[in-house]
């Protein structure tokens, strides 16, 4: 007999009580389904490339890799390296633009 026969039954979304989707999740789904999330990502990517943010991050990575040796570095290391500095060095104009777009979407989606 297959082992999978004994697995617990798939939880039915309707039966699940404590798992109501949060507002966040709902909006997330809407963002994805409408394609807006993808567009926003592309916009952000483009802006960050234009202002040199991506190059700065890559330089940070390279320096770290050089120090540690390229065979001793994991993606995780790099993510942890970049995240605090990355978040802090976003230009205000870029942040404002994206926030504005997201807010517009929220407004339109909430209706």
């Amino acid at each position: 007999m297959k082992h999978s026969v004994n697995r617990p039954p798939t939880p039915d979304a309707a039966d699940d009580q404590g798992k109501e989707p949060t507002l966040q999740e709902i909006i997330n789904i809407k963002l994805i389904e409408s394609g807006e999330k993808e567009r926003l990502m592309e916009l952000l990517r483009e802006r960050l490339m234009e202002c040199g943010w991506k190059d700065e991050m890559k330089a940070l990575c390279r320096a770290y890799i050089k120090k540690k040796g390229r065979n001793n570095v994991t993606v995780d290391d790099l993510v942890h390296l970049i995240t605090p500095k990355g978040r802090a060095s976003i230009p205000d104009s870029v942040k404002a633009e994206l926030l504005q777009r997201i807010r517009s979407f929220l407004v339109s989606a909430a209706l």
Partner: protein
């Protein structure tokens, strides 16, 4: 109670952070890939190698380093040293003498006919090439084949040797 605006602001920030995290992960992944594949490092390593090879070149070109001619102990890329005069001895295929390799070229000159005396060494089987280079020699006292008697064939008046002769553009059958 926070109004919808504040909620919106909070939500926007949340989603912005979400997008940013994704992009950061992408950049990290890309850098990681480049590092592991050695694509980026190549530039730095190449620069390093260029530097080293430039150094090596400078050392070679440096006149204060003795060249082959004045130092027997120059080492080549295989780590071997060579004496400045080749010292192997072998047999000359023309005359059969034992010759030192380093003296082979001058030997061949004499042996094969560049020199004045070389013509006297002419043998039956040798071809016209020998006489082509002979210069001042007068009538040779030694002609195995006297089939051609014309003395005008060669500008320097030598008579013929066996076989065809090519000289100054004239060509005669024996």
């Amino acid at each position: 109670m926070s109004g919808p605006n504040e909620d919106n602001t909070q939500l926007s920030s949340h989603f912005f952070g979400d997008l940013l995290d994704s992009i950061i992960a992408d950049v990290a992944s890309e850098c990681h890939r480049i590092a592991k594949l050695g694509l980026d490092r190549n530039l730095e390593e190449e620069e390093e190698e260029l530097r080293l090879s430039a150094q090596a070149r400078a050392r070679v070109a440096d006149p204060s380093n003795s060249g082959e001619t004045n130092n027997k102990y120059v080492v080549d890329i295989f780590g071997q040293t060579h004496p400045s005069v080749a010292s192997e001895i072998f047999e000359c295929m023309n005359c059969g003498r034992s010759i030192v390799a380093g003296r082979f070229a001058p030997h061949l000159e004499k042996c094969m006919g560049k020199g004045r005396k070389a013509r006297l060494k002419v043998t039956r089987s040798s071809t016209a090439a020998q006489n082509r280079y002979s210069r001042s020699s007068p009538v040779s006292t030694y002609s195995p084949y006297s089939n051609s008697t014309s003395t005008n064939r060669l500008s320097n008046g030598t008579s013929g040797v066996a076989g065809e002769e090519y000289s100054n553009g004239t060509y005669e059958e024996p």
